[in-house]
Subunit: 200 residues, 2 copies
């Protein structure tokens, strides 16, 4: 019925994610995006809308291909405690393995894009809450099975893991030292009576 698209949506969104992730929203120009995506500005505008809309799509693409799958994968681990520890371990390895120190696009977005964009903030919060909820589910489940000792309120324990993870992701950008990131995660786990992370 009409001319077919020449570009691969996954590939061009991967490229957009890479630019936004490396440089942030404001510091990435539309022309740079066009070059990375190997599309013209008109094609991008036609397919995704303006820059803000493309950012939103890129973030969704990033999260669809990363966060949700990671949570599901770790939650399928043999034990809830292992799920938490495995998730933290993977977050640290991703942070340290990225020589560009890009951190986590979700966390970066929370700090850069938020201020005057309530829609984006709601979306970011929904995604962030996914992580918090994952931690809470694991804590509750592990306590019910006796694997995780009782102690601090389960909501607060999840909040602690959550805020530590965000902090680790901040440090991944500015001070990506293994001892620092692992130390924070190690302390969070030990303080909640959880087993240590698996080796890297």
């Amino acid at each position: 019925m009409a001319r077919p698209r020449k570009f691969d949506e996954t590939a061009v969104l991967d490229a957009a994610v890479d630019r936004f992730w490396s440089q942030g929203y404001e510091a990435t120009s539309t022309r740079e995006l066009a070059e990375s995506m190997q599309m013209t500005l008109a094609s991008i505008h036609n397919a995704f809308g303006d820059k803000r809309a493309l950012y939103r799509r890129s973030l969704e693409h990033y999260l669809d291909g990363s966060l949700r799958a990671r949570i599901a994968r770790h939650e399928a681990a043999p034990s809830p405690a292992a799920a938490i520890a495995g998730f933290l371990r993977e977050s640290i390895e991703r942070s340290l393995g990225d020589g560009c120190r890009r951190g986590c696009l979700l966390v970066n977005s929370a700090l850069e894009v938020t201020p005057a964009d309530p829609d984006m903030r709601d979306y970011l919060n929904a995604e962030l809450t996914t992580i918090e909820d994952f931690f809470r589910r694991c804590i509750v489940k592990g306590r019910r099975s006796g694997e995780i000792p009782d102690g601090i309120d389960a909501d607060d324990a999840a909040r602690l893991l959550f805020s530590s993870l965000l902090g680790i992701r901040v440090l991944a950008r500015v001070r990506p030292e293994r001892s620092l990131l692992e130390g924070a995660a190690r302390a969070a786990l030990a303080s909640l009576g959880l087993p240590p992370m698996p080796d890297s």
Copy 2:
């Protein structure tokens, strides 16, 4: 010997901090800065250099008037445990008290400005380490006096407090809910055997 400056350096840097803090580095234009600071672009350039240099000066101004004094004030508290709890309490109240959700300029800078600016990164790291060191000193001192129970390695305990604080500052921007911020801090303190924060 020469024409005297008409502007008050503290006042104009306060104004610059306000803009950078609210909008970030990239999203703040030099003209907007000039208007907020009530100076011409030429005067700003003459007094502070280019935009990047002004940002650096603004950040220094912010930290000189905020971070160092806060650490010193809390470290003068009657006990090291109270110093930690008081610092967290104050960080949370500052976060919740700011209707603009600006978070902490130091943390915001760590995420936005870092990537390709090693000088800035080193500076940010030095300032961030100030906080980590503060936590570590308090832990060590409190354990020596018996006020803080032994347990996790002191370095790791400091890293946990540090990363949680950074996470709280991230959440302050995107999800400034008292229950969330306090819950994370409460759990961090309790898990290290520290007394709870003072009431707000």
